[in-house]
């Protein structure tokens, strides 16, 4: 469709404050729906980790019973504790499996909901959004970005809970052993917080950049693979490979940069832990010499300090994943937050019992305010009339249709249907009163029957066959191996552009609406077929106010009103005979046909 947006429209949207808190808040709104399941998950995580934490203590007790030495081992105690250990470990494992299942369930529910929200948002967005955003980019949000969030949710949440429990548990143990020695952590914990914060600040933009670079690669690949035939025809493979390499380089470099800093996190946290260990060794030894601690105390303190810092180390590994998830979340939420098509006005009425009178009054429009496409356009069409719009390409013909169906709203003036301003109507009822056949045919992957019946709920096979016959596509369909059940595949070679257009004509014929739009509706149909379906087209137009855009002037000679559009203005209007008599632009166009 016609659209003359400035090229920066795409790039501009990428700059936005990186707002972690906001993304987290939005994510937690999703999680809140499952608060009971999450609560259960947390309880399970606590139980399973506490059981696991108790394991070493139990084995310690068992070891105590062994420690008595040769011939004096208290087997009864050893077996007792070993038995409890087995039970604890088995329970812990069972709980942890249930926990995993629960988390998979929760994250899948969230992902399901999120994909649905993105999709529903897509359905709400104004047409302008699709005119300005690459398909591949939109798709990468609903697949790759949401998938990243998914991975992070299902793995990282449990990890975080488990880490917290272990940290708190071992902290308690250490306090019990020696509060003095715990002072070591007063140095190392803040150090690790500062370092982590510093690194997070550094890596976060890198991960956003990575997300963006991958999005760009997606868009590029989509474009190139779709245009493969053209590339081959011009033997530009080598050239495209070079361009691909550049995109590829950007993507892998962005990925590398993110990892370059992201992979610092793990070793750094590990370093802080090692530092703690060194300090504990030194000060523990000194405390021991001052007889504040026993040897056994130091040993268990070190063990627990390992347990204490181990999960922190793990959590640091997760930070990288969390960050890409946040960056992905930001992109997803940005789409969800995109301003939807304006709400119908509050007292919007449902358009009913349409007669089909259409009027434009002084309509101004431009896709960007600084570049007017239509200037003070006015015309009136009575019910049942056929209005043809002619003019050179780029003059604004399709724009009139865009405005009429409220894909865009005019910047000035008003558009009336049966005397009602279309902005005072609900969009759905407005659009329901149109049927249209466009130059760019659109069919989806589904059976031919489904494609024709698309606009009418509960259409019967008889009805579909009737319109298919009228559109002269029935014979072709019956020759297909599966007839009306033949699945149209997206890139299928089994159907030509003209046949596609006939299917969309059949689709429009099935609708029962008062206003018809034919935007180059037969541009891909050969003239012979076109002539054969002429009768059907006429009966389709009968009793309807029809707007016809066509280049073949022969098809519009009989229109009740011909609007000649040039440079955003209607320069001539009238019937064919009137315009020929006027002997200006239209007449020259008409004569040019046969030169």
């Amino acid at each position: 469709m016609k659209f003359n947006a400035p090229k920066s429209a795409n790039q501009k949207t990428l700059q936005k404050p990186k707002n972690t808190k906001y993304v987290l808040k939005r994510l937690s709104q999703y999680l809140l729906h499952f608060k009971w399941m999450i609560l259960l998950a947390i309880v399970l995580a606590v139980i399973s980790n506490v059981l696991a934490l108790l394991g070493p203590m139990l084995s310690g007790k068992a070891v105590d019973a062994i420690e008595l030495g040769k011939g004096m081992v208290d087997f009864k105690t050893v077996f007792y504790y070993c038995f409890i250990m087995v039970i604890f470990y088995v329970l812990s494992s069972v709980f942890s499996y249930i926990l995993s299942i629960l988390m998979v369930k929760i994250s899948q529910k969230v992902v399901y909901q999120m994909r649905r929200d993105v999709f529903n948002q897509l359905m709400r967005l104004p047409i302008g959004y699709f005119d300005t955003h690459a398909t591949g980019d939109i798709i990468s949000k609903i697949s790759y970005d949401i998938d990243t969030i998914n991975t992070s949710l299902s793995n990282d949440l449990i990890q975080i809970v488990a880490s917290l429990i272990t940290v708190i548990g071992s902290l308690g143990m250490m306090i019990a052993i020696s509060p003095t020695l715990l002072l070591v952590f007063c140095f190392t914990v803040p150090l690790s917080i500062v370092l982590t914060k510093y690194m997070t600040g550094k890596t976060r933009p890198m991960f956003s950049k990575r997300s963006r670079a991958l999005g760009e690669l997606n868009g590029f690949v989509e474009e190139m693979v779709s245009g493969q035939k053209t590339i081959t025809a011009y033997h530009q493979e080598q050239n495209m490979i070079e361009r691909f390499d550049k995109q590829n380089e950007n993507a892998v470099t962005a990925y590398y940069r993110a990892e370059y800093y992201g992979s610092m996190v793990g070793p750094t946290v590990n370093f802080v832990n090692n530092l703690s260990l060194s300090l504990i060794s030194v000060f523990g030894a000194i405390l021991f010499l001052m007889q504040h601690l026993s040897l056994g105390d130091i040993t268990s303190f070190v063990l627990y300090s390992r347990k204490f810092s181990g999960p922190i180390n793990e959590a640091a590994n997760i930070v990288a994943e969390l960050q890409s998830a946040l960056a992905a979340g930001e992109r997803v939420f940005k789409l969800i937050d995109e301003a939807p098509e304006l709400e119908d006005c509050q007292d919007a009425v449902v358009l009913e019992n349409v007669k089909g009178a259409v009027a434009f009054h002084q309509v101004d429009f431009g896709y960007t305010p600084d570049r007017p496409i239509l200037k003070k356009v006015s015309f009136e069409a009575e019910p049942g009339q056929t209005i043809a719009i002619v003019g050179p390409t780029g003059a604004g013909k399709t724009t009139i249709i865009n405005l009429l169906m409220r894909f865009y709203d005019p910047l000035g003036g008003e558009i009336l249907i049966d005397g009602q301003n279309i902005q005072s109507l609900t969009r759905e009822s407005l659009r329901k009163n149109f049927s249209m056949v466009l130059q760019d045919t659109w069919l989806f992957e589904g059976s031919i029957f489904e494609n024709i019946a698309y606009g009418k709920d509960n259409a019967t096979l008889e009805e579909v066959m009737k319109v298919a016959k009228a559109a002269h596509i029935h014979t072709f369909i019956t020759q297909l191996p599966n007839g009306y059940d033949t699945i149209l595949s997206n890139d299928g070679v089994n159907i030509s552009k003209g046949q596609k257009q006939l299917l969309t004509i059949a689709r429009a014929m099935l609708l029962d609406s008062k206003i018809l739009i034919l935007d180059e509706a037969t541009s891909n149909v050969d003239t012979r077929t076109e002539r054969q379906i002429q009768a059907a087209m006429l009966s389709l137009m009968e009793g309807k106010t029809s707007f016809v855009i066509a280049h073949r002037l022969s098809t519009i000679q009989n229109a009740d009103l011909i609007l000649v559009v040039q440079d955003g203005n209607i320069i001539e209007q009238g019937t064919h005979d009137e315009l020929m008599a006027l002997n200006q632009f239209y007449a020259s166009l008409y004569q040019a046909q046969y030169s």
Partner: protein, 572 residues
């Protein structure tokens, strides 16, 4: 997966280097507890505070070395992952550009796109992770086993005995889980397809108020994806708990057996304590190995999908065929063609075109007009018969030479997201003058000059910011720009008004005298001035000749002409 290992091979040395550094770092990590033990056992009894500080300093030095080594190795690993991914993605794309139309039809475009993107991302992630975790974990396991071996060989055997069970668990679970991830990918492709359809058809969907219907359709695929992913993850989640049970039961066995041995005086309690801590180290390392395994299994599904494309053999080979002397420039000799080896799309297509003769093809939708062009350009091979250019069978002309003869505009051709001039130039060595000349002859210069940045104006992907007519003009200019030997316009001017269409034809005749024009059209007026016209119906040539002779002999052609031109028939 096999092909992927070939891609790893060039980096083995670099990986080895990284591994050595990582090994060093891991050893530093392992040294710390050993030093601590030494301090407790041997330094403290000396009651020498200075020595304690010295050993403390040594520990800190080790920590710093470990920090450096791990960061260094991780970065090396990321570098290898980057280079590996770059190679794979490059080769994959090269392969995609090399696929024949038939292969493209089979693999489908959306699936190729996801192989080039999602699947290569998975590979990237795996190669990085395997290097970062894959060295540390085995070292910890191996180191653990070696040290426990020296401590207590019998207890060590128990530990080692649990390992095969763990291996078996991982193997069995992933054998079930991996195929699940492969089919998951297929469902994701389906989901992407639905989204793509909705994005491209949004106008129709809104106009027909089918939003709720589409939402339901999406919900259905969304649900399938979620169900499949849940199932796959449930299976994979089995690995960890089972491993935990195995290892910890092993631990209990060690205590029980150890108790017996201590009681018998063969072992000491201290060794058992040491054993337990090493057991923990090994357990953590094993956990990391399974994590790797899960990533590996996900990535191997991706690797297979990538490989499937990489292993495709070129299916349009250049053959050695004799060159015939011929008066004709382009010849179709009794060509039959079928896409699926079943129904013929083209039947007995036979025509001969002399140098500088122009060709028009007209016929009903689906008559096979575009297919003729696709065969001439060798996007597909004929099923039988032959196509010759200058007496040379096109199957014997190498692709580059063949394709360079053509300038072509397909039905629904592609505008790339790039500037206007780049879209016309399309990578060829053409200067600005040639570009603007082509635009002039392609009837595009007028509207281009009215754009905000003229030839530098950025066009959206698929020409979203152009009208149908503007797109066609740019595409025609692209085809003209290379001064091709053969210019093919496949319904390329359907969105142009008659006046522009006529001017275009005049410009081509006047300014491209060396170019053989082939035009597919639905308007008689577009082709009536061409030297030779084929009237096609249902894959067969109904009649051929020039306009005048067709007007005389071909009823259908005459009917067409009359209906389109309202009885004003011009003799040429």
């Amino acid at each position: 997966m096999r092909t992927m290992t070939n891609y790893i091979r060039p980096y083995l040395l670099r990986m080895g280097y990284g591994f050595v550094i990582k090994f060093f770092g891991t050893i530093m990590d392992l040294l710390l507890p050993w030093i601590l033990a030494y301090v407790i056992d041997d330094v403290i009894p000396l009651k020498n505070i200075q020595m304690i500080f010295v050993w403390g300093a040594i520990m800190i030095v080790c920590s710093i070395l470990a920090l450096w080594a791990n960061i260094f190795a991780n970065r090396k690993a990321s570098g290898v992952a980057r280079d590996f991914t770059r190679d794979v993605r490059h080769d994959l794309y090269v392969k995609v550009t090399d696929l024949s139309s038939k292969q493209l039809d089979q693999l489908t475009i959306p699936s190729l796109v996801s192989r080039l993107t999602t699947d290569t991302y998975n590979m990237h992630q795996m190669v990085g992770m395997i290097q970062r975790l894959g060295v540390r974990a085995p070292i910890l396991i191996l180191g653990g086993v070696v040290i426990t071996m020296t401590l207590e060989p019998v207890l060590c055997m128990i530990l080692v005995a649990t390992l095969p069970f763990i291996g078996l668990t991982v193997y069995l679970v992933s054998r079930k889980g991996v195929p699940m991830f492969s089919s998951l990918q297929r469902y994701i492709d389906q989901l992407v397809k639905v989204v793509r359809e909705n994005v491209t058809g949004i106008r129709v969907i809104k106009a027909l108020s089918k939003i709720d219907y589409e939402k339901k359709r999406f919900e259905k695929t969304n649900q399938t994806v979620v169900d499949q992913e849940t199932k796959a993850n449930y299976t994979m989640a089995l690995i960890n708990p089972i491993m935990n049970i195995l290892l910890n039961v092993g631990l209990v066995f060690i205590i029980i057996v150890g108790a017996q041995r201590v009681n018998a005086g063969i072992s000491e309690p201290g060794k058992i304590v040491a054993f337990l801590s090493y057991f923990t180290i090994i357990l953590t390392a094993m956990m990391n190995v399974t994590r790797l395994f899960i990533i590996y299994s996900k990535a191997s599904a991706s690797a297979d999908r990538i490989e499937e494309v990489l292993l495709k053999t070129k299916d349009l080979q250049v053959k050695e065929l004799p060159v015939l002397t011929s008066d004709y420039f382009i010849e179709f000799n009794h060509v039959n063609f079928s896409f699926n080896q079943k129904e013929l799309v083209l039947e007995d297509i036979d025509f001969h075109l002399k140098k500088n003769q122009s060709l028009g093809i007209i016929g009903a939708t689906g008559a096979g007009k575009s297919t003729i062009i696709q065969l001439l350009m060798r996007f597909y091979d004929v099923s039988s018969g032959s196509i010759l250019i200058n007496g040379k069978n096109i199957q014997s002309i190498d692709e580059k030479t063949l394709r360079e003869m053509f300038g072509v505009t397909f039905q629904n051709d592609t505008i790339f997201s790039d500037s206007v001039s780049e879209n016309i130039r399309f990578g060829r060595a053409l200067n600005d003058e040639q570009i603007s000349l082509a635009a002039q002859n392609g009837m595009a210069s007028e509207f281009i000059e009215n754009l905000s940045e003229q030839y530098d104006t950025h066009l959206e992907a698929k020409g979203a910011n152009l009208s149908g007519g503007q797109k066609q003009r740019i595409l025609i200019s692209r085809a003209l720009a290379g001064h091709p030997k053969i210019l093919i316009l496949d319904d390329a001017s359907s969105a142009l008004d008659y006046k522009t269409d006529a001017l275009l034809r005049q410009a081509i005749v006047k300014n491209y005298p060396e170019t053989t024009l082939i035009m597919i059209a639905q308007r008689v007026s577009s082709i009536m001035q061409l030297d030779h016209i084929l009237v096609l119906e249902e894959g067969k040539i109904l009649a051929q000749g020039n306009h005048a002779s067709l007007m005389q002999h071909c009823d259908i052609y005459r009917e067409l002409a009359v209906s389109q031109m309202g009885g004003q028939i011009y003799e040429v």
